[in-house]
Each structure stands twice: as C-alpha cells, then as structure tokens.
Symmetry: C2
Subunit: 371 residues, 2 copies
C-alpha cells in the first residue's frame, strides 16, 4: 500500500517526492540540468536552487532546442473557483521568471468551464471570478507583448477545434482511467480534459509553427499531460514538456490540506495586513518547541515549521533565508519572531501586489485572446 | 423480440411506425391535429396529408401557443459526411414549408465536428463538405431573413457555452444509455450530443427570449431530444417539440439500407440526367409483376414499388399521384413507364435545383452565423 496519493483531484498523505518521480516516471532536475539552465539564464530562480521545481519531462529536450535557436512556449492555467491565495502565485511567479529569461510567449488558460462543470457556481459567477483572478495574474508584472490570457468560454471557438482533434485520439476508457471519471460524472466534465490539453497545441492552430510547449505546474497536474504527450504526434507537434513543482503547504501544517473553504488554511491576495498578521500568528503551524526554554535549548524543526517553509517560497534572498533558518533551528530565534518576519514579508508583498492589482484592472485588454 | 430496430445510429428490419409511436411514447399526428394546423396554415403540405410526417411531441403545445400569439422557432441540421442526396431534402423541404406558413426563425446546424469525430475525415474535408451541403440547403429557397445556418466549429464559442449548461445536467451513464456510447468511444463524440442539443436553447442565449423549439426530423433522431427535453426546465426554456417523419427509402427497396457508400442506393443532388435515368431504370426496386402479361392482369404492389414510393415524396400534385397509383396498381401502367415518370420528375427537380445551387454559393453569407 502506498502511504500517499497524488492525483489532479486528490493529494493525501505525506508526499515522498523522490518516490513520486519514480511512480510517475518523470526525471529529477539534477545539478547538470540546473547548470545547463544557468548557462542560458545567467542566474537561477530560488525555486530551482531550493528544489521547489524538482522534476520534469523533456525539459532537457526544450533546452537543447533553445540552444540550437529554436523557441518554445509556456502554458499554464488557473481554475477560477474563488479568490486567489499565496499558493496560487507559486507556479505563476516561476513562469514569469522563465518568460523573462527565455523571452518566450506564454499562454494562460482560465478554466471557467471546468469550475462551472464541477462546482455549484453559475457561468456568470465563474466569469466574474475569472476576471478577478486575471487581475491578480497581470499584477505579477507579465509582459503584455508576450503574455496571452484567455477565458475558456470566450475562446471556445479556437479551443474546441483543437480539443476535438485531441479528443478523437483518446478513448473514454483512457479518459476515465487517467482523470478518475465515472459513469456518474456529468458528460461535460468528461470532455473538459481535451479543453485543458488544447493549449499545448495552440500556437500551431494560430499559425505560429510547431513550437514545443513547456508547462510549469504542481506535480499533481502531471496526469493531464500524459495523454497530451501521447496525442502530440497526431497533432503534428512535439510532446509538451513539463516542469513540476512540489506542493505549497497549508498554513495549518505540511500535511494539512489547503482548502479554499477553510480561510484559516491560506492567505488570500485580498487579505488586509491585520488579517494576515492574525492568521500567521494564530494558525501557522509551528515547528518550534513547546516552551521558550526548550526552544532555546533544542531549536525548531524547520521541516515542519510553516513560517520557515513559506519563507522558502517568498524570501528571495538566500543569505537572509539561511540566517533565519540557522537562528530558528538553533534556538536563537523564537516562534513569535519568525511568525512576525513572515507576516511582515507577506504584508510587504501584498501591499505592492494590491496596488498593482488595482492598476491591472485597466490593463486587462492588452492580454486577452478572444474569439 | 422486436422485429425492427430504430436508433440514431441504426435502423433495421421492417419498421412498424404505429408500434414505433408506442415504443417511443410519441403521439400520432391525427386528423384533429391536421385540421387545427390547416386552420393556421390554410393548406397542408403533402407530407402531412400523406403521413410522411406522422408523429410528434408537443406539436399541439406549440400550436396552442401560436394561436395565442406566441412564436416558436424551427431547428434542424445536417451532418456533412458527403454530398447530399434526395432523401436528405425531405425534412428540409418540409421545414421550409413550416417556416413560410408560420413565418418563424429557423436555425440549421451543420455538424462538421460530429463527422470529424466519427469518420475518417479531416476537419478540412468536413469543412469543405459543410459548405458544399450549405449550397444545397440554400438552393431550396429559404428566406435569408429568417434562416440562420452555422457550422459547429465556426460557432463553437456560442454553442459550447450552451452545451456545457446542457452537459452539466446529464450523467455519463445516461449519455451512454441514450446514445449507445461505450468506453471505446472517443471522448469527443461522447460530448457531441450536448453540441447537438444546444441549438434547442440558442435563441435564449442570443437574447431572443424563451421561445419553444420545434425540430422536424426523421424519427430515428428522437433519442437526441429526450435528454434535451429533460434538461429544458434547468435551461429556463420550454421542452423542445418534435415532428417526426418516416424514413425515406433506398432506391434498392423499402427495407434496404440507404448507404452513402453505395451510389446505387440514392440519387445525389449532383447526379447528371443520364445518371439519374440509369439509376432509376436499373436499380429502383419494382413492385411490378415479372412479365408484362402478369402486370397487365394483376397490377403492381405500390407498397413495395420504390418508383411509386419516391413519387409520394416528390410529386406534390395529389391527383397526378393518384392517377399514377391507380394506373400502375391496376396494370394499366408498366414498370418501365413509372420509372420514366420518376426519372423525369427527379430530373426536372434537379435541373432547377442545380441552377439554384450555383446561385446559392454567392449568397451563403446572408445566412451564416459565426462567432
């Protein structure tokens, strides 16, 4: 029996990422690949050196082609089921870095259809949430010249044409096995994976040639890309490549489930400084000791401490992060102190993000693809 | 055991249309309903008096509303898997009559996606066939002000949005049971029924209110509309009504299967006068006797005679048809003669159709809906 489970619709147990690489048949991003990337990008994003992005499929192929002068494109997405939280930014911030370093096109799919088909939301609500989320995405500073965002129901003419080409090559039984559908699933959500795979082949449909696709996403999304890789040859395109991240932990603990319905588990991008401070202070799971005395003597368990783990995602400065880790694990720093550091870091980020978000709303049209 | 079978994907055995009404739970178009219709339309199409259109669902509801001043709309379609033949015109000619009499909007769906998903055809081919078929449809003389034609891949943005609303309310198991899909079906064709049901609710999406839909089609298509009727309330629309025709017979006999792959079985709209004459003379199944002597003495069996049966579809003049029937069944007329009459009738039709078809190509844009 496996002690953990990772599928696009369920993550449970304590995830062993090395085992996951074996189980999924992906490849580790090793030192050689990192050095190869550094030669092209000059520096490495902390998510690479810290192994947040740790696994891949065909990233080496993508880099080889790039070295030979052939561009790739990036594709990522967002399901608009509610407001966005800090964890949602992880793949997006990394994608932005990739885009800047490689100067490539990026397509961002907003799956309002998926959320309509899976949740008790109207199309009006998913549409409103889509544009709410798009403001957060644009606020990260993507280049409007190279970044193309589309909401599925607004771009369905283009997507449906690609999706039926994909779908023709995938049987219902494969679809059920890969995505966990049953005969009780509605007949719309069973088609949705074809809509999610379609952008892997979008530039070709747009007359931009058969560029290879690179998808940065959490590793639980990997299932989606395996059938996409299987049909790629029939679509006249290279197999879409992936670069996989580990999971962003819940505020409530490394193994806790981050749930949008439990506001204690995440920091939303619209939270006020007071809410952020309160959530971090109250709920951030602590790897520190029960008493100040013990903490001074034994130090904190960084692996379990959410404040430290979140700093690994949001503190770019390696030396600063190391100092915090050293001080906290040695007992020099107390839980209250690291929590304050995290809350301040998040609030500094959110202050500028919320300002950028306000401005982003007026700039949406520069990014949108519509039929 | 049933001695005949009628589903959207298979018709076999000798169809008993009265039993079919029972089996499907539809209603017979009886004399009272015909008279009610005649009050509104002044005259009745021969397809009604000859019981070619013989069954319905909610036609009485549609007429009641019409009497009360509330309009309905017509919806029919065509799957572009090849060139069109005479049989394909039957529901279209009747639909045109309904449109003229009731002065209502008509939507015609061209399912290039369906044919792409089910056949070994490229999207380029199904697209070319779509416009080839559209020329034949327009050539029938539809009113461009009230007739709206769309090719699914060109109108998918509008259709997909309706289709997912439909699809959310239909489980995979219902979908399988109704349409005969299995786990070997590709995941695109399993979604297609939602695209075919979507136009039942199209005027609402276009802001034209919740008019009731009336679908004229052969009765084997009835399966499609049962789930559409089931979801109508959730779509905020009345249940789509249907008016069902009997099957147009193959040239090769009443129980023979009309097959596009067997050119002997049908007369194509592009056939030359010589081809038409040759096909009718050689292949039209005869209900006449084996020898001239026997025919003179016993007369022909009109029920089995394809020339007579086809005349029921293409000779509008009741008295002329009756005279032919009387003469042929009494033995006054020989098989060669009725075949000549049919060939001449078809050629007269095709001569003006082919001329109209040439002109139609330049008028396509007046009819098209596109995203």
């Amino acid at each position: 029996m496996d002690e953990f489970k990772v599928t696009p619709w369920e993550v449970s147990g304590k995830v062993d990422y090395n085992k996951l690489i074996e189980r999924f048949g992906t490849k580790k991003i090793d030192q050689a690949l990192l050095e190869r990337m550094r030669r092209l990008t000059k520096d490495l994003h902390p998510y690479l050196t810290r192994q947040v992005f740790f696994s891949h499929r065909d990233l080496d192929v993508v880099l080889k082609k790039y070295e030979d002068g052939e561009k790739f494109f990036l594709y990522t997405g967002r399901g608009p089921s509610g407001g966005m939280h800090m964890g949602h930014l992880v793949p997006l911030m990394f994608t932005k870095w990739l885009q800047e370093k490689f100067k490539v096109d990026l397509y961002i799919q907003i799956t309002d259809d998926e959320k309509f088909l899976m949740r008790d939301l109207s199309l009006e609500e998913t549409h409103r949430l889509a544009y709410d989320n798009i403001a957060d995405i644009i606020a990260l500073g993507f280049d409007p010249k190279r970044t193309h965002i589309f909401v599925n129901t607004e771009y369905a003419k283009t997507l449906y044409k690609i999706a039926i080409k994909v779908a023709r090559n995938i049987t219902t039984s494969t679809n059920k096995a890969v995505f966990g559908f049953t005969d009780s699933s509605n007949m719309g959500i069973s088609f949705f994976p074809a809509m999610q795979m379609a952008p892997c082949f979008l530039p070709k449909e747009l007359g931009k040639g058969d560029m290879q696709c690179l998808v940065p996403a959490a590793i639980d999304q990997d299932d989606y890309w395996r059938p996409a890789r299987d049909v790629a040859a029939k679509m006249g395109c290279p197999k879409p490549a992936q670069i996989h991240s580990k999971f962003f932990p819940s505020l409530l603990g490394m193994d806790a489930k981050m749930s949008s319905s439990d506001p204690r588990s995440s920091i939303f991008l619209t939270d006020t400084p007071e809410e952020v401070k309160k959530k971090v202070m109250r709920y951030a799971f602590s790897g520190g000791r029960d008493t100040v005395e013990e903490q001074r003597k034994l130090g904190a368990d960084l692996e379990k401490d959410i404040s430290y783990q979140w700093m690994r995602f949001f503190e770019e400065d390696d030396r600063k992060l190391k100092r915090i880790g050293d001080d906290y694990s040695s007992g020099k720093m107390l839980t209250g102190e690291i929590k304050t550091i995290l809350a301040d870091r998040l609030n500094a980020f959110l202050k500028s993000h919320q300002k950028a978000r306000g401005k982003a709303k007026g700039r949406t049209e520069k990014f949108m693809l519509r039929d």
